[in-house]
């Protein structure tokens, strides 16, 4: 039976509770919340409280309510205080809405009083005598620095491999991306690095940028005034929840049409139908990986019908044929619309055949996107995409083909338009140049698998759960790490020098020394030698921007757990110890490169990085801008307010590619079938398309939710949505544990019968601690090393009858029933 909290009362925040700004750090939307804290021995009353309402009365729908998940008791300046984190009605992003993730921010805080999140790391841990021993920062950083310094000094910086977040919210943010960036790209020039969710250090949307179009160019308000929302490979009700509810739903109520391109029917399609009516929603359930053919046919139809925005094209896009030729760092040619059309031209019938959808539906989509209104006025269309194509077939050309449509219809830089990725985490990237990394960037997973790298620094990444080809990656990294563990065990009792020598000996014999900076002891952390405990947003001040470039300061309302620290200060500690270690090695010139980290606080790191490039922006000014913040780029500071930019490219000048002419380019997107190595063969040889999907309940915080009774009760195992007829054929019942296998490995989950699932297609939740979908994703990548998690094929078999936990959960449809 369902998990019951057995909570029937909560403390009341008193009128004089301290109130601070919080931007939810879980997803890209960045909803505004207020954090109330007050002393342990105080409380408000029904009539007199921080909410300023009579709590003795039943509150109406949409009224203020402190749910049990929004409450906790945490440490603040060394004292236990009550904490309530409640959605902010005044924030334009969410207007008082909370999601199933954000509403659990308080509950997902570590508390020694209530016992929540005791999995959080509180102290540095060093592998010692066969176990992880807690130790001091000095001791742990000294070991990290001595081994790292010795390796980079003697063997060069290419022997240091780094995995690091590049985003905002959670672990990232301007403070932390700056500090890690300064360490690895300024003090050093580390080139063998990768990002948390992909095996190289690269953009996920290279083509959009090369075309001149930064990928976050609109305002969320554009959804409210558009004629059509064109969504591809995204599931916003689940993954950008309050963007969908607070901006897309009003747009649909205002009469917008909704087009979804996704092989799978999702709750987003269902909800759009509820709001807009089925006649105004078009779901193109295409054959997986064929998006580009669809986009090319849409563009062709729009061009041939004269529905292009010719003034915009003339003024803002390149006119002279080919501008950039196809090459090794440029997977497709770029140039004028006419130039691109020579490659893109695709008939509706051709696309219908490739994509497996009705020709009439493709025509309808083209009309909804671009056919002018009856009075001749142009149609406005917001285009929004995410992992379905970012992690799908042929990333560069597919995204290029999509941006082509927005450019041809003049839908970028204008109200009611935009061509944007929807995003996962918030953004918060501020780092020194990464030009030395090169393009294509190093495929770091393969480098590690082939034995490359001697020292590995991992920042808030758990690739065991979230990389491709994960089975092999884990096997190899564990083996290489174990070599070092054994050497460390053998050196037990010796001096620091002897320990360092033992480690260096082991890495020279093929091992690898792993340092993991994280908030919990993650799966990859099991194969680390030093664990450095980091803290999260609100345990430190953190700045980030959301999917409409809205920058906020999310304030520190509690102390870091135990002796954990902000990542930026950990990076500073690593740098300072590197300086000392290099001096000891007699390399003063090298040591000098590690100066400039004398930061006391995260604000110091912010001033050293983001503020140096954006002198208008300070903590004080951001704090004053509250939960509505300011949309980047910040244009100035006037009348006590930071002045932002609601929409990029409003002047028709496109500059993301860095071209002096500021003209946008079209992409010559050549359809080539399944382009990455091994995908076509895998598709032929297996019975199921294995879709890789996210779920409302825990996307972006599953690592915390492995410690949440509420979440574990709902999904004790990762779900795998499956058609009932396929289940019957394979003798599988609801809740049975099933295995997905292919040449790359195997993974497991719980069968979730889904009446809308197509036969021969399963949808497995990504990033689960209890079953890594990446185990069955092949190592094939695009030219610029983008993984294709979405394009996976495998066979399915039953492992076991539904265990008791699985038998106890609901297997009903996720779709709303009026």
């Amino acid at each position: 039976m369902a998990y019951k909290r057995q909570i029937d009362r909560l403390p009341i925040p008193p009128a004089d509770a301290k109130v601070q700004n919080v931007t939810c750090h879980y997803c890209i939307v960045g909803c505004g919340y207020k954090a109330y804290t007050w002393p342990r021995n105080k409380q408000g009353t029904l009539e007199n409280n921080a909410f300023g309402i009579n709590l003795g009365e039943q509150q109406p729908a949409d009224g203020t309510w402190l749910a049990p998940s929004m409450y906790n008791m945490v440490r603040q300046n060394g004292q236990d205080v009550h904490l309530a984190v409640v959605p902010d009605h005044e924030c334009v992003v969410n207007s008082g809405l909370a999601s199933i993730r954000g509403a659990r921010m308080a509950e997902n805080r570590p508390s020694r009083v209530t016992g929540t999140q005791q999995q959080r790391l509180s102290d540095p841990l060093v592998w010692r005598n066969g176990v992880w021993q807690p130790t001091t920062w000095n001791d742990a950083l000294d070991l990290v620095a001595r081994v790292t310094a010795k390796i980079v000094n003697e063997y060069g910086e290419d022997e240091l491999v780094v995995s690091m977040f590049d985003h905002g919210g959670s672990a990232g943010g301007y403070e932390n991306t700056w500090a890690t960036g300064k360490l690895y790209f300024d003090s050093m020039k580390v080139k063998n690095c990768r990002i948390h969710n992909r095996p190289a250090y690269n953009s996920e949307v290279h083509s959009s940028r090369d075309m001149g179009v930064g990928e976050l160019n609109y305002s969320y308000s554009d959804y409210e005034v558009t004629d059509t929302i064109f969504m591809i490979g995204a599931n916003s009700l689940e993954t950008q929840t309050n963007l969908f509810l607070n901006h897309m739903v009003p747009g649909l109520r205002n009469g917008a049409k909704f087009i979804m391109v996704d092989p799978r029917r999702t709750v987003t399609v269902n909800a759009a139908e509820e709001v807009a009516g089925k006649d105004n929603v078009l779901h193109l359930a295409i054959t997986p990986g064929t998006d580009m053919a669809l986009f090319n046919a849409l563009l062709t139809y729009i061009v041939d019908n004269g529905w292009t925005d010719n003034d915009f094209i003339a003024a803002s896009t390149f006119q002279g044929g080919e501008a950039v030729a196809e090459g090794s760092s440029q997977p497709a040619g770029l140039g004028s619309l006419n130039y691109a059309m020579q490659t893109c031209r695709t008939s509706i019938e051709e696309a219908a055949g490739i994509c497996g959808v009705d020709a009439a539906d493709i025509v309808k989509a083209a009309e909804w996107i671009a056919k002018p209104h009856d009075d001749g006025a142009r149609r406005k269309c917001v285009t929004a995409y995410e992992k379905g194509i970012i992690w799908g077939n042929d990333n560069y050309r597919t995204i290029g083909a999509l941006v082509n449509i927005s450019l041809a219809t003049g839908n970028i830089g204008r109200e009611g338009g935009g061509c944007c990725r929807l995003g996962g985490h918030q953004e918060g990237y501020y780092r020194p140049s990464d030009a030395h990394v090169g393009r294509p960037a190093e495929y770091v997973d393969q480098l590690l698998i082939k034995g490359g790298g001697k020292v590995y620094h991992v920042w808030a990444c758990d690739h065991y759960k979230t990389t491709l080809n994960a089975s092999q990656f884990k096997r190899v990294l564990k083996k290489r790490s174990d070599m070092v563990k054994e050497a460390m065990d053998a050196a037990a009792g010796g001096t620091r020098e002897e320990l360092v020598d033992a480690i260096v000996g082991a890495v020279n014999a093929g091992g690898i020394f792993v340092v993991d900076v994280d908030i919990i002891h993650s799966q990859i952390g099991q194969n680390a030698h030093v664990l450095l405990p980091a803290c999260e947003s609100n345990e430190m001040n953190l700045t980030s921007m959301n999917g409409e470039r809205r920058m906020r300061l999310s304030e520190r309302y509690m102390d870091p757990f135990g002796n954990s620290k902000p990542d930026c200060l950990i990076a500073a500690g690593v740098a300072q110890h590197m300086e000392a270690a290099l001096r000891d090695l007699g390399n003063d010139a090298y040591a000098d490169q590690f100066k400039g980290y004398d930061w006391e606080t995260e604000e110091d790191a912010f001033m050293d990085g983001y503020n140096a490039g954006n002198p208008e922006v300070t903590y004080e000014r951001l704090r004053a801008m509250g939960n509505n913040g300011v949309q980047e780029p910040v244009a100035g500071y006037e009348n006590g307010q930071l002045v932002g930019t609601p929409r990029l490219y409003a002047d028709g000048n496109f500059d993301r590619h860095g071209r002096d002419d500021k003209k946008a380019l079209f992409c010559a997107a050549q359809w080539r079938g399944y382009a990455a190595a091994g995908k076509a063969r895998e598709a032929e040889n297996h019975n199921f398309f294995v879709n890789n999907v996210r779920a409302n309940i825990f996307w972006q915080n599953q690592f915390l939710d492995q410690d949440s009774d509420f979440v574990q009760d709902r999904f004790p195992y990762p779900f795998i949505e499956m058609n009932a007829a396929d289940m019957a054929d394979l003798g599988i019942s609801a809740g049975d544990l099933i295995e997905i296998t292919n040449e790359n490995g195997a993974t497991q989950g719980m069968a979730y019968p889904t009446d809308t699932a197509k036969r021969g297609q399963v949808a497995m939740v990504f990033g689960s601690p209890a079953g890594s979908q990446g185990n069955v994703v092949n190592p094939g990548v695009s030219e610029l090393i983008l993984p294709e998690y979405k394009l996976t094929f495998g066979n399915v078999r039953k492992l076991a009858d539904a265990p008791p936990q699985a038998r106890a959960v609901s297997f009903k449809s996720k779709e709303y029933k009026a």
Binding site: M1, A2, Y3, K4, R5, Q6, I7, D8, R9, L10, P11, I12, N41, Q43, T45, L46, L55, G56, E57, Q58, Q59, P60, A61, D62, G63, W65, A67, P68, S69, M70, H82, L97, A98, I100, A103, R104, R112, V113, T114, G115, T116, Q118, L237, T241, L245, N270, A271, E274, N696, F710, R714, A808, V809, S810, K812, K814, E815, Y816, K817, A818
Partner: protein, 174 residues
């Protein structure tokens, strides 16, 4: 009942705590003694009213009856299911009762007899009436508050408690 609330809220907080509950209860007592004039023993759980909702004979399978519990401002449903369910009351173990204020933002849930779910027109959350009000999909951070039922020898059904905090109130009993 409002004169009870200040004391009861304190108890609720303690009840919320898991793990270190005993140690914390001690700490709380210590704080209270700093103001001895106001200290008074508080019950360790809320006193819920025992309200007669209906008689079994009034219920038809899969036809929810509107109820109010613990007071008139808190709407719910009383429902007889076709089969016994875990946590079901009555001789056949098939009677359940839930709050119908969505624990997301408090919109009224509607019952779908088709798949015995409660659905929210606010933002599309869904709860399973057959699995203890488990959220099938949605935005709420708890499952549906379920009312504790007792059925007497005459078949009269009484509500006498609630599993979770009801939307829009700091205490289930106001």
């Amino acid at each position: 009942m409002s004169n009870k609330c200040n004391r009861l809220v304190d108890v609720g907080r303690r009840q919320f705590m898991r793990g270190g509950a005993f140690a914390v209860a001690g700490a709380a007592a210590a704080t209270v003694t700093s103001a001895p004039a106001q200290a008074s023993p508080a019950n360790a759980q809320l006193d819920y009213p025992s309200n007669r909702l209906a008689n079994i004979a009034d219920l038809a399978v899969n036809e929810p009856m509107d109820i109010e519990y613990p007071d008139a401002d808190s709407p719910g449903i009383l429902l007889k299911l076709g089969e016994a369910v875990e946590g079901g009351a009555g001789p056949d173990g098939n009677i359940v009762a839930y709050s119908v204020l969505c624990p997301h933002k408090g919109w009224y849930l509607t019952y779908s007899a088709e798949d015995r779910s409660l659905n929210c027109p606010g933002h599309f959350s869904r709860f399973d009436a057959e699995v203890g009000g488990q959220q099938i999909w949605g935005h709420a951070t708890q499952n549906l508050p379920q009312f504790t039922l007792r059925v007497d020898a005459k078949g009269d059904i009484y509500a006498e408690g609630c599993s979770d905090l009801i939307f829009g109130r700091p205490s289930n009993v106001l």
